[in-house]
Symmetry: C2
Subunit: 467 residues, 2 copies
Amino acid sequence: MAQAVELPRNEEGIATALGILKQQFGDRFHTGQAMRDQHAHTTTYIKPQAPDAVVFPTSTKEVSDIIKVCAIHHVPVIGYGTGTSLEGHVNAPAGGICVDLSTMDKILSVNADDLDCVVQPGVTREQLNTYLRDRGLFFPIDPGANASLGGMASTRASGTNAVRYGTMKDNVIALEAVMADGRVIRTAQRAKKTSAGYDLTRLLVGSEGTLGLITEVTLKLQGIPEAIRAARMSFPSIDAACQAVMTTIQYGIPVARIELMDELNVRAANAYAGLDLPETPLLLLEFHGSDNAVVEQAEMFGAIAEDAGGFDFATTGTAEERNKLWKARHDLYWATLQLRPGAHGISTDVCVPISRLAEAVTGAQAKAAALGLLAPIVGHVGDGNFHSLVLIDLSDADEVARAEEFTAYLADEAIAMEGTCTGEHGIGQGKMPYLVKELGAAVEFMAAIKDAFDPLGIMNPGKIFKR
Amino acid sequence: MAQAVELPRNEEGIATALGILKQQFGDRFHTGQAMRDQHAHTTTYIKPQAPDAVVFPTSTKEVSDIIKVCAIHHVPVIGYGTGTSLEGHVNAPAGGICVDLSTMDKILSVNADDLDCVVQPGVTREQLNTYLRDRGLFFPIDPGANASLGGMASTRASGTNAVRYGTMKDNVIALEAVMADGRVIRTAQRAKKTSAGYDLTRLLVGSEGTLGLITEVTLKLQGIPEAIRAARMSFPSIDAACQAVMTTIQYGIPVARIELMDELNVRAANAYAGLDLPETPLLLLEFHGSDNAVVEQAEMFGAIAEDAGGFDFATTGTAEERNKLWKARHDLYWATLQLRPGAHGISTDVCVPISRLAEAVTGAQAKAAALGLLAPIVGHVGDGNFHSLVLIDLSDADEVARAEEFTAYLADEAIAMEGTCTGEHGIGQGKMPYLVKELGAAVEFMAAIKDAFDPLGIMNPGKIFKR
């Protein structure tokens, strides 16, 4: 396990806050080891750091009460959604109180005429979409995991269909948040656009709980498209697949998803799901629109991809066939793990300008091979974003060191290509050094905001910056 | 003329800075009254407040040099693009140095494969689009005026086709800026998405020069669509027109523009351009896409609008006919002024959830009538954003007072409808009181950022907040 960021603990303050909050929250306040450990569970290879207690508030007022107690006694506050973040975001390096927002899970309003809704932060995306289905609406952002919408806002999540619908930054209209002194703010009204002052909405989106805790999210919604069409195409090389992606995007074909699986991933999918796909790079696509539009789009993609050397084109409009076509992608995490049973999968994340994508992916493949690592690559390639799931034995220090060398290489290369060390996972504890490499003096201004909003440094300390 | 915000002047500091900058910039440094007055020209009815000098830098380094001198001597720095902002943004209430960025007008790079470009802040949108045309690309944001891209970023501008392409917040990928102490930062890399730290890009977009001066803008570009189709439809009432807009948006028809002109505006257009449009509310639309898609979209809109009571539907795909169809909109500003020759036109701006649009527009019409004002309304209605051009005699104090009552009414009503006091013009000096009404305690956090980034208060003082 890699070391986490370490910070000093304020034992006296923590003890006092624990006593007060126990009093206030009764059986919604937990200090048992199992509960604490569960809330430090992290999907990275960063060592878990459990909080001292976990509390389950049910209202903005209660979140504010908790933060006020923590502010008085200088005790860390760590927001928690579903625990699916990937860079040690929910670790408690200085101890403190984990605020589990999963019990704030009400859908407060759906404004169908305005294509928006207001939800509490603990509502998950699947819960919201189930609720919306009968209204003919959906919320498009899909990071894979059934994350909470507050958590997705906090990490600026995106995923497979960001290429069409944008990321959380584009789909959050307004936030209510409790700030580090317990004050409650609303960052914007419900209008679709605004020029009223600084964009605090976008500032809180992606701030990883370091500036305040999100207690309400106003989200843009979409009408469920009249038609959805899927497509799949194999390519002789990563270069050819990336060329097809670039041309598709340049032609303005409004793909809803365009996912790349490298040859290693395709092999894993074949073995896991009994498929017989050519074991070469694969693109999977989805198109949303009118019946005519999606057929036209799929045909245009097919022609572009064939020009780029693609083969074995398949496309379909029925839901059942769509699921078959995309099967290789749906089970990918589990399929990939079976490439090395018993191994731990570490998910890394970088994003580069799309013109550099082929070079970045083939570079990553070569580096993994040179380090003797099994590290299949999957990408939300319409945005130039890709992940590698590095399969390692966490008890093997040498392998862990090589995995760290690999993720460092990916981040450095992405930055050198005018890309970013993280397209959608966030900085957390894992990417701190790369943030400074990537943005230099700008990080000092981020830290200035942190210090201005949270002078005591109680909001999710040790994330984004070491403070 | 309405009073502008007044702030105390630092005479000694200003005198010293003037001396140093004169030395450094020679004939690119101006203190002549005409030049100063020209840079305080404002299209609002707020009294102009001229700076003490105007300087024309040609590089980021020079902008940094200017700001360093101003920081040492506590002298205000006011950024200037083309002077087309509308809320007194370029006024100098405490005097100081106007930094005219129009001489930083180079297009630094166009990355066609990545659909982005990097420009200096003084590049105007028409200049950029002329440059891009041969490459098959365009930059979609169109606020009407031929504004500079740095200025458009600073005010979070948008305009007619934001409904399809978003606002400046959605189209700026990264910024270079000189901050209040002269430090130069880059807010992001060139990747299409990122989760790397706080979103300083979106913080600077719309900060109206109060946090730093933008010296480079990285922008998203679009491929010129295969086909553009225009449409026009008249409606018996504002209600009917707004119903058609709402349904069109709900159906997910990707309109590129959808503009509402009220009956007064249509009458003005008929008179000015010799048209014979029915003098009832009018919607003008544009569709971008493939040949088939735009025809399908226009037909779908036509059917929806007819259901809502629309009549006299016209649609065309040729450039020449398109210009005829949209003629009423193109000349609107000049046509409207002719409703009352010699009058001054004050452009106001609010944005409401689209479900409240009909109520907001008819409310505004009724209020204007009650106040005896001529105030035709035009709206980028796909976003719920509309403007009124109030036609007044600026020398008539009573009329000015009634115009102020009208704009206050619009802002208050918009806020009461969960909308905003400004959809795209910004706060400047004109909308300060409404910002606080709209966002309450959130404004204290905006001010905390201002104080942290600009502790001396030299960056465009007296805008957004009174500091």
